[in-house]
Amino acid sequence: MKKIYLDYASTTPVDKRVIKAMEPFLTKNYGNTMSLHSFGQEAKLALENSRQVLADLINAKPNEIIFTGSATESNNQALKGVALRERSESKGGQYKNHIIISAIEHACIMESAKWLAKNGFEITKLPVDKYGMVNPEDVKKAITPKTILVSVMHTSNEIGTIEPIAEIGKICREKGVYFHTDAVQSFGKIAIDVKKYNIDLLTGSAHKMYGPKGIALLYVREGVKIEPILHGGGQENGLRSSTVNVPAIVGFAKAAELCKVEMKKEGARQIKLRDKAIKEILKIKGTRLNGHSENRLPNNINVSFPYIEGESLIIRLDLEGIACSTGSACSSYKLEPSYVLLAIGLKPEEAHGSLRISLGRFTTEKEINHLLKVLPKIVKQLELMSPFKKKYEKE
């Protein structure tokens, strides 16, 4: 059985062209960027060339790109770095201590905010509408003289909704508040211009765009005051001490280059597949689409089935060779249903029956057709076991 991978929002395979670009930096040019000899200088050159490529992708300057080890690290760095700098500058006096995030941010933003709340910062969580959209007016209203940072993701990792970051960026710039966006899911998929959108900090990650795991970036606009979290040798402009992971960065840059070239065509292709799949899946009685029908990532599908549970659905699909994801509690280690789905107004029981299908560069129409053949059967099987089947039939 040939397996079908439809969980690209979790991670992606590394493109062969990326591996090819990385290889020399694992075997031949393995120098440390801090070394003065030719090995080191070659590595340094590759690092700076890569930085330029990634800066170009979002219309930033190369010196505004900081490489980190993961998107989680970038997001931690953004929130904690800005907050702690603000506090350290106050030298024990009054400082701005207010941070605004949305209710549907990734766990690494949520948990960083939670940690900051424990350490003297005030956190406001903005609600979202039924599609998962933040209202820019809410951002405007939430900003106080004590606000230092607003962090709203570019696109939801679960439901694919695209947030109005241009409007939010404009508001933040006018108010003199930093704006960070977690762009992990959209990076390389949707064009972003940090200058045009007034973005001060932005997170992107390689392994969601056919690059290797363990490498991500934080764009920090020139002039943004931020404290490092990792201290040591002073790499990355003093913001991220650690030996620079050159092969991964070279891979990240190659991945970005490929995404940039293929973005338009690939986006259109995925939207076509996505919409076909959504249309067919919604024919299964009782199914609802989570997120927005148009204003969503080209590769994201998120649906809820009534009266069946997500983990069972995922495992049944896996037994058929199809890999997807769910926001059901039973799939997590917390046994709580997805807060994102609850935030868009789903009842906990609806959140349990959610399925996220995310497409990618290597997804074919044939694969989608196979999914569409298998999925209704599996839903039916699980419904047959569910005590709510009868209730469902009556409706």
């Binding site: 495992i315 896996d318 906990p348 569910s386 005590p387």
Partner: protein, 162 residues
């Protein structure tokens, strides 16, 4: 190191759990059930209904389940029907969550509650049977029934605000 089946969910569930989940036994309804046990809460993602058919000698001749839940919930449902079928009520009530877990070759710790749910469903089904047949309910069964109902209330309260 314990070797896991890497084919699917190797690190999470045992082969026996996967096998049971793939082809569960005794699912569906019993129309003229002697007793029905309904446990769990949809808010938490697990609901288990157990139907029993009891004969004159108090032997559980037939048992069926309907479950909304994860792999573990469906597997524990199926396994308890296997464990109970053909036993007298008295024998059936001796089945513990550990028996359920053992029969499945183990469960991840985080899914232990599914084995509790299966045992609770059986207790509730027997309780329902005793009530319907107007029999005296043994004190320990009464007590277990009370605890199950109470924890149900707690869960419902916890999620009221959501």
């Amino acid at each position: 190191m314990k070797k896991n089946s890497a084919k699917t969910c190797g690190s999470l569930y045992t082969e026996k759990v996967m096998e049971t989940f793939k082809s569960p036994h005794n699912y569906g309804k019993i129309k003229d059930a002697s007793g029905i046990g309904k446990v769990g809460n949809i808010v938490c993602g697990d609901v288990m209904w157990l139907y029993i058919k009891v004969d004159k000698k108090e032997v559980i001749k037939d048992i069926k389940f309907e479950t909304f839940g994860c792999v573990a919930a469906i597997s524990t449902s199926s396994i308890i029907t296997d464990l109970v079928k053909g036993k007298t009520i008295k024998e059936a009530l001796k089945i513990t969550k550990d028996n359920v877990i053992e029969s499945l070759g183990g469960l991840p710790k985080i899914k232990y509650h599914c084995s509790v749910l299966a045992v609770d469903a059986l207790i509730e089904a027997v309780y329902d049977y005793y009530t319907k047949t107007k029999q005296v309910i043994p004190a320990d069964l009464q007590k277990k029934h009370y605890i199950i109902q109470k924890s149900k209330d707690v869960i419902e309260k916890r999620y009221e605000g959501l």
